[in-house]
Amino acid sequence: MNTHVKITKSEAADLSRRSFLVGSAAAGLALGYSAVPGLFGSDEALAATAKNFDPSVWYAIGPDGLVTVTVGKADMGQHVASTMAQLISEELGSNWKDMRIQLASNDPKFNDPVLGAQITGGSWSTMMNFDAMSRAGAAGRIALMEAAAGMMGVPAGELTVRDSLITHVKSKKSKSFAEIVKSGKITKTFTPDDLKAIKLKTPDQYTKVGVSVPQLDIPDKTRGAAKYGIDVMLPGMVYGKVVTPPVRYGATVKSVDDSAAKKVPGFIKAVVLDDKTKTTTGWVVAVAKTYTEAQKAADALKITYDGGPNAKLSSQSLFDEAKRLQGLSDSGEFFVKDGDPAAALGSAAKVIEAEYTTNINIHCPMEPMNATAEFTGDILHIYTGNQFATRTGAIAAGAAGIDPKHVVMHQMYLGGGFGRRLDADMTVPAVQAAKAVGKPVKVIYSRENDMTMDFSRPLTYQKVKAGLDGDGKLVALSHDVVSAWPTQRWGIPDFLSPSVDKKGPLDAFTVNGADFFYTVPNHYVRAIKNEMAHEATPSGQLRSVAPGWTFWAVESMIDEIAHAAGKDPAQFRIELLDGKGKNDGGAQRLRNTLLAAMGLAGYGSLKLPKGEGIGVACVSSQERKTASWTACAAHVAVAPSGEVTVKKLTVATDVGTQVNPDGIRAQVEGAALWGLSLALYEKATLKDGGIEQTNFDTYTPLRMSQLPEVTVNVISNGEPATGVGEPAVTVIAPAIGNAVFNAVGARVRGLPITAEAVKAAMKA
């Protein structure tokens, strides 16, 4: 564990121990969970309200009746702030037109109540905050109703609330939220028990949940008015352009000659980073009065490097090392171990095995990484859009050599996150440059810096072995997953999981998904850390994380097994999703989505011309405990050259409860297209320790002309709300791979699927 990074532990994430406070403050009515956990008596809570209540907690209602919700989540296009406001508005009874959102600082009081930190990922936000936000809204409504009852002289029980208006039907009296707040006399504390006792609405009473209310952040985003990290302007601010070494990680700066840079107008200083957090290696920042001058100065710096231990490595080295590790019997830790796969494979009538690979992938959100740092007195202010304010604040503090409690993170809109902005690297050059020049500094990566220094989706190698009995039934499956361990890199033990063989903690964010809902009596999954890849290509969480590669292997292999057993691959899946034992519930939901996708795509009924095929896949991404049930039927056409054209993607997903149906469709479609982009168009490679792709000419995400028809079909069955931002990423590649096989009999086992690989497999 890096001693220069101190993650401040949240005292209690357990909301059941928090009181909920409502109090009139200068700016109106403030409402929120108490920042201090503990079993308050109501008197103590009241005292705390009066003395310490901070009106920016969670949400506030102004004298104009506007309700401003403060959200400690990263808004990166999933409109999560709007969704949180929607949950509060539902129970509060406010008019949607009165709702406003603002983004929180890294103050622990805005931490996710369940996770105990500010982190946005895993498609967790809606699922985990549904209850807390609903109760927060309901508590506000109750407090307002009591105040209104007092003002009108009627019993609170006879009041109704609708569109920010509280009405007493019998006397035809009513008070708006604005009028009640203006009266300025509301103080109410809900103990944890009071909160628990609140009866939330039942789905048939919903007026906002399940309705596609317009997302609150969208109008500003059509006018160029939304403020992202890169848009921050501070008085006296100067600009920094990073110069990154040719090696992704492990290089050191030997010398810097700034004689030419000094001739660039506006140049201030070249700062060699001394990054004790070890987030970066061998970086230099050219600081100048404008960004253009900083770029020119950066280009003029003559820097020599020691390439370090990874300077000779390539993608091939990482694959070779992965294969070597997989071959060792004592490698890795077990994530799943059911029955005795070794024995069952030994006695199986038929054994098939296959290797699946994925290459390095780069996040490249449209807003390149950036951060602005300013020291004011003892406080370090960081302005950036970030998905993990809790850890990022700690890294920034480590880079500054100060205590994390002196760091204030100012959250901005994220010009794309996709997991990239869970990382904190952009704060390090900003902090150290600001310190070196004594001015606020905004550091902006060039696209080349952004791509070559990405905390990428790791290169993965997976070996799967399956055993069938004499009836063609799948009786054993062994699955080894070899990769860098992105989440272990964070150095936070809470994010690791114990292994079933008690060999030590493993990074479950490299194997999630491999613990599928198929019933296989003998099944193991082994997580094997590729230390070489871990060091050479520090990896991160890329939209959908492990299920993006585990389901590539599982869902391709299930198809291969079905064909080996002479069965239809979709029917074979349905048989395996029998809902027995630990798979009860999930397997049935997954089966239903598969059946839906099959039906909607015309699986088995549509007559296809030669060279076309439909393939299916179904996934329980993200994690077994937080799954959204998602299936895809992909319809492809394969040319004799091997070129694959995706004609249609039919996606069915069971999300339990929909908060904003239109928002869900946007997320699922975006996720599916990410899946397509990763399946066919995106590939990064390591050579001489560096990422070879530097801009959108060589790393090529999906463009409009490559857009197939996509239909998103949402199953909403009243189960609790699940996450929707990621799962559909993971179902696309295997569905396409299986469709290619269905079309031309070519099995491709590496991502991305290229025309060359398809053509080679057609010949084989």
């Binding site: 296009g77 160029g224 890169i230 959100p365 794309g416 297209l673 999906l702």
Partner: protein
């Protein structure tokens, strides 16, 4: 020192002639709606209009832009109510929103010349603008909606009694 005509106003800027228009707009004029994406003309996030043509402001120098009529997202319409902006809201297009200024400016240059584009014409015109959130289908729908609205408005105008 150069004078730029941006959104109908003449503004003096102090920058070397080879400075990309993008950075002058963003830093000196503090109009941050125009975005930096790739610095190489590959993504379209920095798209503005110069004399009515959609150009990549990261590839346009200040000296090239001087004396020409420059329009940014902030100046596309006085109140942010260009038919495309309204259509972008109606179709709920933006996700992260970062590329959308560029998308709207690129689309506006199409509709200014062709109020009834085919889907193929839209794709050909928009293919240089990347959206990492992959909002492409909604962008297409919003362009078609705006085009229809503009045609309706213009027809209504034609019918007005003289």
């Amino acid at each position: 020192m150069a004078t730029l005509n941006i959104n109908g106003r003449n503004m003096s800027v102090e920058a070397a002639g080879d400075t990309p228009l993008l950075w002058v707009i963003r830093e000196q004029l503090q109009m941050t709606g125009t975005k930096f994406g790739c610095g190489a003309g590959l993504c379209g996030a920095c798209t503005v209009h110069v004399n009515g043509e959609a150009v990549r402001s990261c590839q346009t120098s200040v000296s090239d832009a001087a004396g020409k009529k420059i329009t940014t997202i902030e100046g596309l319409s006085a109140k942010g109510e260009h038919p495309l902006q309204k259509a972008w809201i109606a179709e709920q297009v933006p996700q992260c929103g970062y590329c959308q200024s560029g998308q709207i400016m690129q689309a506006a240059s199409l509709l200014a010349k062709n109020s009834n584009p085919s889907k193929e014409e839209v794709v050909a015109h928009m293919d240089g603008n990347l959206c990492r959130c992959m909002t492409y289908s909604r962008i297409q729908k919003a362009i078609m909606r705006a085009a229809a609205d503009m045609r309706t408005a213009s027809n209504a105008g034609d019918r007005r009694p003289t």
